[in-house]
């Protein structure tokens, strides 16, 4: 047994939901029973990103990754690996295509294509212990800045790095800092936007759960650069674990003198408070977020004035996204030039994506800008499960759009994605296969936006409702030929006239699916069929007589008694009674029923 053995256990939200807490307890018990709890260090960390195979555990110094570990497996890991020095083969990652086991975390294709800057500490340190952050050069950047750089110099470093906002808009971060710095005022504020509203994304959550201090340190650096003494983190109330870890981190940083008065003897003061969101998507929009911190209904305001001029309580306010901030200490420590070495000319650095949907390796990845969508989906993501076809990927969440299979080689950059009718967004990447209906997806996003529209301006409040009604009738077989033109006209109108970014982007999913999958819309409207078989009212459940073996299984499972025919007779479905629930399709052993 090597002396330096330590075991990292993921305790991000996904792994926690599959008992990683119990696993850690069991591990500690077993080590204790064998009297080796002193030699083996057990560390709980934030998310490794490999949620698809959670709960995961890495045993160092070898870097062995164990997947889908259960409490019952702990005995064997301790006996065989920790004491015996051998690997527990059956818990290793097995490549679904090659069926080869890989032992070391760095050799797994999911990990070795990644470049981790914003996620540099996630899955490596215990987020509840500030000393682990300090040991990985934590708060060193803040010290350097306060003792060796003027605020202008800090702004210049960030400008030179080419960092752009990771919250969706992609606005140059250095420029935003400079504008806020130059606004004259007695008080200024720094806000970290941790509202993460995109339904299907969890980048910011993982950073804050895995490495909260990196964001706090960056906020203090930003405060120094723009001349603010107070910061706020606006975080979703649904993220209970984030709130807990952030609170602990703020307290520890205060105790150590990294937050509070006279930091590093420089005379600079900076404090951070948390504010909880309360479940409103629009509050991710910066002006609505500010209104919400002020204690009101989170309705957006007209810009200009921009927050950099007039923000929280009328004072100049710098508002940055979690991931944007997480890059800052690394840029200060390594220099702007180092950062520009990653990515492309107009999109420097890396981007964190949350892979979800119909993809083998769901989870969190960080990749250099300029990587192709194909590499993300097939090399890192492990391709589409169940031998299905890749159909499209949605980026930018409900404000974004889809990238169809024919553009699979697109380079992931702010501008290329915009050209393709989508956007970088905050990092949600939902993969869809041939069983997903694009009209249904557009309807899903629109329902969301309609729900979340704050109601302040008419184009968004009424317009999204009308768009949704049209989509509803199309998916229910009541679509009219002119509906497709109407969707386009209305969509562009809403974009042009809405007050804030929510309305301005709400029609995007409709417009982009129309751009690439118009034939699917036409099939719904003209032929009244849903090619993917998703829209229930359009699907016809039918028994193929040649395939039917007359076993009677379908009739038994039908919840509404719509299938006629005793065993040994050809069965028939009564279309009047059938609710298209699909139970018979699943039940039929001969695949003789189609939907």
């Amino acid at each position: 047994m090597a002396d330096s053995t330590h075991i990292l256990i993921c305790r991000g939200t996904a792994c926690l939901s599959s008992e990683s807490q119990e696993i850690q307890n069991e591990l500690q018990n077993q080590l204790k029973n064998r009297g080796i709890e002193e030699q083996v260090r057990v560390v709980h960390t934030g998310c490794f990103g490999f949620c698809a195979r959670g709960p995961v555990m890495v045993v160092w110094p070898r870097g062995t990754l164990y997947c889908e570990v259960r409490v019952e497996d702990i005995g064997e890991i301790v006996e065989r690996h920790i004491l015996g020095g051998k690997v527990v083969e059956r818990l290793l990652y097995r490549d679904p295509k090659t069926e080869i086991n890989t032992e070391k975390i760095d050799d797994i294709s999911f990990f070795h294509r990644q470049v981790r800057i914003a996620l540099r500490n996630c899955g490596l340190i215990n987020p509840d212990d500030i000393n682990e952050y300090i040991a990985r050069d934590g708060y060193k950047a803040l010290g350097q800045v306060l003792t060796g750089h003027s605020p202008e110099e800090v702004v210049n470093i960030i400008k030179k790095s080419g960092l752009r906002g990771r919250g969706g808009g992609g606005f140059p971060t250095g420029l935003k800092w400079e504008l806020t710095r130059k606004s004259p005022a007695d008080l200024k504020y720094v806000i970290c936007n941790a509202d993460e509203g995109d339904p299907g994304a969890f980048m910011d959550r993982s950073i804050l759960e895995g490495d909260p201090h990196s964001v706090l340190e960056a906020m203090a650096i930003a405060g120094y650069a723009i001349g603010a003494q107070q910061g706020f983190v606006y975080v979703r109330a649904e993220y209970a674990l984030v709130v807990e870890r952030l609170e602990a981190a703020v307290n520890q940083a205060k105790e150590k003198g990294f937050l509070g008065k006279n930091l590093f003897e420089s005379g600079f003061n900076f404090d951070i408070d948390l504010r909880l969101g309360a479940g409103a998507f629009v509050c991710g929009e910066e002006t609505a977020l500010i209104t919400s911190i002020e204690g009101n209904r989170g309705e957006p305001r007209l810009r200009p004035p921009f927050p950099a001029q007039k923000g929280l309580w009328g004072k100049p306010t710098l508002i940055n996204n979690v991931e944007t901030l997480a890059n800052i200490p690394a840029i200060i420590l390594n220099g702007a030039e180092w950062f520009t070495g990653f990515g492309t000319e107009k999109s420097r650095g890396t981007k964190v994506f949350a892979l979800a949907g119909k993809i083998g390796n769901t989870g969190l990845i960080e990749v250099p800008m300029g990587i192709s969508l194909r590499e993300i989906i097939f090399d890192i993501g492990g391709g589409i499960p169940e031998g299905r076809q890749f159909k499209a990927a949605q980026t930018g969440g409900p404000s974004g759009g889809c990238i169809p299979a024919k553009l699979i080689d697109i380079s992931i950059e702010y501008d290329t994605l915009l050209e393709a009718g989508s956007m970088m967004g905050s990092g949600g990447l939902i993969v869809m296969d041939d069983r997903d209906c694009m009209v249904d997806i557009a309807k899903f996003y629109l329902e969301f936006m309609c729900d979340e529209s704050c109601g302040k301006c008419t184009p968004c409040r009424v317009g999204t409702k009308r768009l949704l009604e049209i989509l509803e009738r199309i998916t229910e077989g009541r679509g009219r030929e002119e509906d497709i033109g109407l969707l386009r006209e209305l969509g562009h109108g809403i974009k042009a006239t809405s007050l804030c970014g929510l309305g301005q982007s709400a029609p995007n999913p409709v417009l982009s699916t129309l751009r690439y999958f118009e034939d699917e819309y036409i099939a719904h409207v003209r032929d009244k069929v849903c090619p993917a078989g998703v829209c229930r009212k359009l699907s016809k459940v039918r028994i193929i007589p040649e395939e039917c073996k007359k076993c009677g299984a379908c009739a038994k499972v039908c919840p509404v008694g719509a299938i006629k025919g005793a065993p040994k007779e050809l069965h028939e479905i009564d279309p009047e009674k059938c609710t298209k629930c699909g139970a018979c399709v699943e039940k039929c052993p001969f695949k003789a029923i189609t939907k």
């Binding site: 996904a14 339904p199 911190i293 009101n296 309580w313």
Partner: protein, 166 residues
């Protein structure tokens, strides 16, 4: 007699909650932007935000009741309906949706006879539909009270509900 004891216990609980709420109001009163943090804490204390609680907060903080009501109804996290003994939240975020969360929601709704935002007659179950709880890697995901359950299929769902029905 028994009735009486119950009343006494209820009254005690009521007084305790009110005292905690007053502490919270005292702590935040006068601070800018106090209303939302106070509502968060009040909802933790009461489980929901009935009219009386809103009225009490309005009085305590010195803000119009209309403002309090406006804020409560704006944010979906605040609720004026009590939650059931077991609160089921089926994630309808995108990742869960494409993995069949819609079907899951329908099945639970049918099984319990309630719709989103409702509570069952026996007050045992209430149903919510959050949009993404950040566990998309485990989609489809639902939470019952504080427990998160991921990668669910219809069969497991039946077993799970059975467990909570008892």
């Amino acid at each position: 007699m028994e009735q009486n004891q119950e009343q006494v216990a209820n009254k005690k609980e009521h007084d305790e909650k009110l005292a905690r709420l007053n502490d919270v109001i005292g702590e935040f009163k006068g601070q800018p932007g106090a209303l939302i943090p106070v509502l968060h804490k009040a909802q933790q204390i009461y489980g929901y935000l009935p009219e009386e609680v809103q009225y009490h907060i309005a009085q305590g903080l010195g803000v119009p009741l209309a403002d309090v009501y406006g804020v409560v109804t704006f944010y979906s996290h605040f609720t004026m309906i009590p939650r059931g003994e077991h609160n089921i939240a089926v994630c309808l975020g995108t990742a869960c949706y494409v993995k069949g969360a819609g079907e899951l929601m329908n099945k639970i709704g049918d099984e319990l006879g309630i719709k989103v935002g409702e509570i069952s007659k026996d007050r045992k179950f209430s149903l919510e539909a959050p949009r993404c709880i950040g566990a998309c890697g485990m989609a489809p995901v639902l939470t019952i009270n504080e427990e998160v359950y991921g990668r669910l299929n219809a069969d497991q769902l039946g077993e799970l509900l059975q467990k909570y029905k008892q």
